[in-house]
């Protein structure tokens, strides 16, 4: 249990660097790998290939589908659903930025300031994982309800006037607007930001802060020049862990949004499960995957931490 909540203990300097490869049984590693890897190949990799072939098929449910290399499906899907694609990226990016802004202080608090409260706060961050996220997302309907305290307060402070003007909310409502969807996404993926941030903050040697202070750095400078750069691995993996699932999510957009806030996940879901147009659905999910892989690769290159996985 403790490894779930704490960072894996760093190798002590006394531990030998590289273990010599064991000689016992040349085939042992392959036997150990076989069942699990087979499972992933059959139920993860092969379906991806299947999906790729489905996306270039034509036909109908009644007559069956045939591979006809009909790439126009991709073009049609893109021209018809580009707003949902854009919205998914915009919502997921906003939620990721919000998660970083909200999560960093909490991760910092747990790592450096919590003292004996550290374990308790950690439990409170993790425990919601074990409660159904659908139930918690539904709770946001109550929190953001029309005429509820949140909407009332935002109205009194005239925040809603500004957000409505920006198109984030609509009139006196927060529910069924982009703001509600982004709020739900931020909430749902916040722990995925906090945990990696905490892990990398916790590894920072506290003496570095003291040293910076001794060299007359102001607290803000210490943060900018020492703490934040050293927490970059956490920032990178945290943003990936929030951005990727948030882009594909359709639960928040369905429960807290409206028809105008549909994300690409909603389209894929309805094409697959309701419209039963498999080629279009497969093409959409393939485009989503490719787009995410491209963005992630670019991001990892830029941030220069390729060894984070």
């Amino acid at each position: 249990m403790s490894t779930l909540t704490e960072a894996p203990p760093p190798l002590s300097p006394a531990a030998p660097e590289k273990k010599a490869p064991r000689k016992r049984g040349r085939w042992t590693p392959y036997w150990l790998l076989l069942p699990g890897i087979l499972w992933l190949v059959v139920f993860f990799a092969a379906p991806m290939i299947y999906q790729a072939s489905t996306s270039v098929q034509t036909g109908s449910l009644e007559e069956g589908y045939k591979v006809t290399w009909h790439f126009a499906t991709y073009w049609d899907a893109l021209t018809e659903y580009w707003p949902q694609f854009l919205r998914s990226v915009a919502y997921a990016a906003s939620a990721t930025v919000l998660c970083l802004l909200l999560g960093y202080p909490l991760a910092y608090l747990i790592a450096f300031r919590a003292g004996r409260w550290r374990n308790l706060i950690m439990i409170l961050v993790i425990a919601p994982f074990f409660t159904s996220f659908l139930i918690r997302t539904l709770a946001w309907k109550t929190i953001l309800a029309d005429g509820g305290p949140v909407v009332g307060a935002l109205n009194t402070l005239h925040v809603l006037d500004v957000t409505s003007w920006l198109g984030w909310t609509a009139g006196d409502r927060v529910l069924a607007t982009p703001l509600a969807v982004v709020c739900g996404l931020t909430y749902n993926f916040l722990p995925f930001m906090i945990l990696p941030l905490y892990t990398s903050l916790e590894r920072i040697d506290g003496r570095l802060h003291e040293a910076a202070g001794d060299l007359y750095a102001k607290p803000s400078t210490v943060f900018r020049k020492v703490t934040f750069p050293l927490s970059m691995p956490g920032v990178v993996s945290g943003t990936l862990l929030t951005f990727i699932p948030a882009t594909g999510d359709y639960v928040n957009a369905s429960l807290l949004g409206s028809a105008d806030t549909g994300m690409i996940g909603n389209v894929i879901q309805s094409q697959f499960l309701r419209v039963l147009d498999y080629p279009t659905a497969a093409a959409l999910s393939f485009i989503l995957m490719a787009a995410i892989l491209a963005m992630v690769t670019f991001y990892i290159r830029r941030s220069g931490t390729e060894d984070l996985v």
């Binding site: 894996p8 994982f129 309800a145």
Partner: protein, 266 residues
């Protein structure tokens, strides 16, 4: 001025606690509304205090059935993913072999893929194979997406193990099997437990992949999803509250046990 200084010094703590409040607010609402007596089909507005739902948590058709189905699936998925994942983790940490890089990417990809993509592609496969959607397809899917998380958790633990402990055991004439059972496994156990716990939570809570591959079978998250359209019974909040309390108690308990064990060692 004094206040401004105080605020400046404690800014991080205040911001952190506000985030914590944001994280826990829905749990508070779920708990409070488990004592509500709603007026109509939806439990979104506070009406009146009542403990009816707590007295009769199974009073809604289908709720407890879906709950027990989810528990069964989570249990089997945990067992399957933990067994397969632990074997992979040991192979990856302990041996050098040719396809290591490819296998590492194959482990990493499911965690980096949006769930909806995996769900959709798996459904394509099942439809093409003509598989009957239900318990088995859900279980297959859950083992698939839990596997990578187990591997990561176990790998972290096994990597930080001192191999000299095992060498010492073998110097003391322990056979390979004895070394594994008496030395390796106990040291790796916390990592395996963490992986298993993570797999259980992931499987129990999964909605997106299950929704695609369940056919007409209804797991607990799917029951909640359906009730969001048809009307949410208060019992859902009861289950949500109970799950939160059980999770907190469980984690507290395991931390106390862990602390005590550490102290005994020290």
């Amino acid at each position: 001025m004094a206040f401004a200084n105080w605020f400046k010094r404690h800014m991080v703590v205040i911001a952190g606690l506000l985030t914590l409040a944001y994280l826990l607010l829905p749990n508070v609402v779920v708990t409070v509304f488990s004592f509500n007596k709603p007026n109509g089909r939806f439990n979104y507005e506070w009406q009146q205090f009542s403990t009816d739902a707590w007295k009769d948590p199974c009073g809604v058709a289908g709720l407890c059935g879906s709950l027990s189905l989810s528990l069964q699936i989570a249990l089997w998925a945990t067992l399957g993913a933990t067994a397969l994942g632990t074997a992979i983790a040991f192979a990856l940490v302990r041996y050098r072999f040719r396809v290591r890089g490819a296998i590492n990417s194959l482990i990493f990809l499911p965690m980096a893929m949006p769930e909806v993509v995996m769900a959709a592609s798996l459904l394509t496969l099942f439809l093409n194979m003509g598989a009957q959607l239900g318990f088995w397809t859900i279980l297959i899917a859950h083992i698939m997406f839990c596997l990578s998380f187990v591997v990561t958790a176990v790998k972290a633990r096994v990597m930080s193990m001192d191999p000299r402990l095992e060498q010492a055991a073998q110097d003391l004439y322990a056979g390979p099997f004895q070394t594994f059972v008496r030395v390796t496994l106990p040291i790796a156990a916390p990592g395996i437990a963490a992986g298993a716990l993570l797999a259980f939570a992931l499987s129990f809570d999964d909605f997106i992949i299950t929704n695609f591959n369940a056919g007409s079978t209804v797991t607990f998250p799917m029951f909640v999803w359906g009730s969001a359209q048809r009307g949410t019974p208060v019992q859902i909040n009861v289950v949500g509250t109970a799950m939160f309390v059980v999770a907190v108690l469980f984690v507290l308990f395991s931390m106390i046990v862990g602390n005590r064990r550490n102290r005994r060692k020290a």
